[in-house]
């Protein structure tokens, strides 16, 4: 759980405490609780059509740079 400790250090203390409490009650790693929280944020953004449109527009206008950088990792 070394990673979990690092995570707690980066978070707002109150939020970290809440996460730790939830994780303890549910007997799950804090990272799982965090992942669920992020999934909730993702779901909210996915429901935001304007956000999605803006993200796609930005990706489209930078398509060549993105392709080049992707190719670097292949």
């Amino acid at each position: 759980m070394a990673g979990t400790k690092n995570l707690l250090l980066r978070l707002d203390p109150a939020l970290a405490e809440q996460l730790a409490a939830v994780a303890e009650v549910e007997e799950r790693p804090v990272s799982d609780v965090v992942r669920e929280a992020i999934r909730s944020l993702v779901d909210q953004r996915r429901a935001d059509d304007e956000f999605q449109r803006r993200l796609k527009a930005t990706a489209s206008s930078h398509r060549q740079v993105l392709r080049t950088l992707e190719a670097d990792e292949r």
């Binding site: 944020l41 999605q52 803006r54 930005t58 993105l66 992707e70 990792e73």
Partner: protein, 328 residues
Amino acid sequence: MITHRRRASHRARRRPAGPLPGDLVLAAAEVTGLDPDAVLDAADVEVLVGIAGRARAHADPAAVAGEVLVGVAASRPFGRANAAVAWLAAVHELAERGLDVEVDEDAATELVRSAARGQLAEREVAQRLARWIVAPPGPWRRGVHRLLEAAATTRSGPHLRARCPVCGREVGGSSWPLVPWSANDDLVLVAVCAREHRRHDARGRGPGVGTDGDLTDGALRDEVATDRVRWCPVVSVPGAPGAPFVAITDDGPIAFVPTGDGCDELELVAIDELTPSDLVGSGAQLVTRGRVVGRVAPDDCCFDATGAALDWNRIAAHASPAGALVTA
């Protein structure tokens, strides 16, 4: 090497605080084409939270983008395509704040590669991004471009001639040439005729204008005869009647700034010094440098039919002074 201008197609409209971890996941999903859930399952969520937290601690947009770029590129929280995700997430954060990035593609890729190798810190990346950020074209800049384009067309286009639909005079002399986009526009022709022959005003007003072109309206004839109409060029915003505009008068530049509830009044702001660069962007800074010299009602602004010239004499006659009103 080609310089590309990347323009955000939208303006800031929401949180200025910085990215949420979910935003980074969606950026990764956009780059990889994977479902966001799959991206999240393979992501190091602790790193994502850390990147988002550090980015949100900054107020400066370039610093936010720098944190995001270095964080994703160097820490590699996603299963793949971290470098590309780093760039997209960074420029998207800027775009969310209405900021464009003008960047050479080679320079952009090299920046991300250096950050991924750990050769550039967040601050250095932020500094480079800041140099690439350009202000989005504001309404004033678009207005200037429109005028410059029209002027360029006028200089290079053929000299056409046409008849004024009000008085029948031929218009399109070399001193006030017509261009293709104006030759079929009655409003433009009337205004050009007013400028060229000075026998009616820019709106064709003159109920006594006969078929032979002689004026019978005494008041208008007197007005023309005594040269009481004094046109001055205007830098305005096409299609934005409520926006400020600047008239370049013989007495100096005057900004017309809508004011009051419902913009029912225009404040006249004298600008002491004006350079071409002042006429781009929002114009807010330009207005703050000036001094209020009067107020007029919008109806007192008499434009010619092109909307590119304003009768300054009418303004001087109707303005209620708030200071030392510039007069003819």
